[in-house]
Symmetry: C2
Subunit: 346 residues, 2 copies
Amino acid sequence: MSNALNNNPHRRYNILTGEWILVSPHRTKRPWQGKTEKNLTERRPEYDESCYLCPGNTRASGETNPQYTEPHTFVNDFSALLPDTPEEEVNNGLLKAESEKGICKVVCFSPNHSLTLPLMEVEDITKVVKMWKKEFRELGSSDDINYVQIFENKGAIMGCSNPHPHGQIWSQSSIPTEIQKKSRHFKKYWEKNKRSLLSDYLTQELELKERILSENEYFVALVPYWAVWPYEAMIIPREQHQNINQLSQEEEKAFAEIIKALTIMYDNLFETSFPYSSGIHQAPTDGGEYPEWHFHMSFYPPLLRSATVKKFMVGYEMFAGPQRDITAEMAAETLQQLPKQHYTKT
Amino acid sequence: MSNALNNNPHRRYNILTGEWILVSPHRTKRPWQGKTEKNLTERRPEYDESCYLCPGNTRASGETNPQYTEPHTFVNDFSALLPDTPEEEVNNGLLKAESEKGICKVVCFSPNHSLTLPLMEVEDITKVVKMWKKEFRELGSSDDINYVQIFENKGAIMGCSNPHPHGQIWSQSSIPTEIQKKSRHFKKYWEKNKRSLLSDYLTQELELKERILSENEYFVALVPYWAVWPYEAMIIPREQHQNINQLSQEEEKAFAEIIKALTIMYDNLFETSFPYSSGIHQAPTDGGEYPEWHFHMSFYPPLLRSATVKKFMVGYEMFAGPQRDITAEMAAETLQQLPKQHYTKT
Ligand SMILES: O=P(O)(O)O[C@H]1O[C@H](CO)[C@@H](O)[C@H](O)[C@H]1O
Ligand SMILES: O=P(O)(O)O[C@H]1O[C@H](CO)[C@@H](O)[C@H](O)[C@H]1O
């Protein structure tokens, strides 16, 4: 890659969404006098009696959590989507709307209130992966559920209202915008090449070695060339699987391992419990074949310069398109050089 | 509109972008135990010697601001886009990038450090509108500038690093993603109907009267049917203008008046200096005709329940698509009932 382009403002193309992102590498010198976040690194107890996700505690809905010892799921007490929404639509001139069915679930990763994914044992993260598989399979098998979005909001600055280790699953009847975009680009490539777009991309990244963060027998973690968030990363299975349900037992464990490796890097970067939203993008569950799909997990972390200074996706980003200050290569290099051991354990 | 749909989870279609948004009206009862923002309502002095935007002060670049008395613009000291970026591109397998040229400017709305748009006189906001016109015309006339994005980030939670009243203009050679989407939908409608999509939408909204916030002879402010942010609003000129340069003198003043009326509502909502990002979407400046375009100004404010609790666009929103809790109609009704006078002046 030309070095000049890498030091000058440029746009990069996201092969999965077809969208461009503006990169301004020269802008890292900008001083910051704006908002700073609190650095919350206080230790949490293993059990918190005021936490509505801890085993045995009562939730806002009045329900009591079981004394769970493994990952535990339940239907969200304040679900954004409901299973028995009556079918209706609005088609009034330029106003267009339709009812939407769905099921929202909460997934507690561990009974231990003090943990986060990077602090959990691989064995226990593997149980989370198994739980995601089970939920994906069960939710996806319903006639009304055509897409299952598994995600985690980690940290208060990512809108997470409870530090107990947990993620969410929102499943619904229509195919969300982001999935439609990716389906379109996977499909176009598949029809032309009869190969997965992400398999070919992975091959190229493994040759270049510039943006690779971690690898094991079954998975690779990397900073995608078109990353938007400062330390955005992506976990890609080497095998082309359409969804997580296709993972073998060895792959489940390898997935857990690479999630742990990546999130340890994140925590070590600014020696803080690194906030992010992560999500798994996979093929719809509407009964279609989707031979073009290749599932992957992405991490969108907002921190830019330190544990207290984040990147804001605001005016220009909302009205024009995403913009970043450091290049994907700068971010990858910084992450690559970090210790592989969690900073609290050395 | 069917009342049932309005009380149940549903999706609404954005006629300008072609994207859907998930609305969960039943979810407003959700308790909030997450992050709260600081409510910053302290009075600011008219002049702050540590502010790099106040008249006569020296900026980080070493340059000194003139003793300006009217809106003042200058090239951003930390521009994300630069005018003389050498032309280059990357076309390496699945990696695709190209250099980008542009000019970034800062627009100080007033020399008075203590003001914000809702607190400024209409006469002085009119001067800001005239400045936007001039900048749009001058930047847009360059061969290298094919799109001019005018925007404001207001408030620390919108990434604004200085409370001095100001906005920005980022102009560039390529057409940003959001503009491409809107161009496509304006064009499709124009080709079929030979009328502006937004003119027809405005006619329908003016008949329904449900989502109108404010009107004058030349402009209407409303909550769009497909609003994403809790109190999102849009200012639409009654005449179909492709860009702000086509505004007459009377229209300039009317634009200033409606900006003031809308931002006063916003401040009055939670009796705070209401944060938002606003931006003007208009036709590209690449020399094309764009008879389909109809410029408009949008406001994306994050506050949801109070001056300290905002809506987070995180996990589901990043990986699937936008989601909101209150309906556009609920938001419009709340805003409509507010006093028209700024709360600090009564
Ligand atoms: O240019 P500023 O005000 O320093 O920066 C602000 O606006 C920019 C344009 O929306 C964003 O890219 C930055 O993240 C934000 O902090
Ligand atoms: O469901 P929670 O954790 O209460 O809420 C969080 O995640 C949701 C899904 O991304 C968002 O819509 C909310 O804004 C955020 O606060």
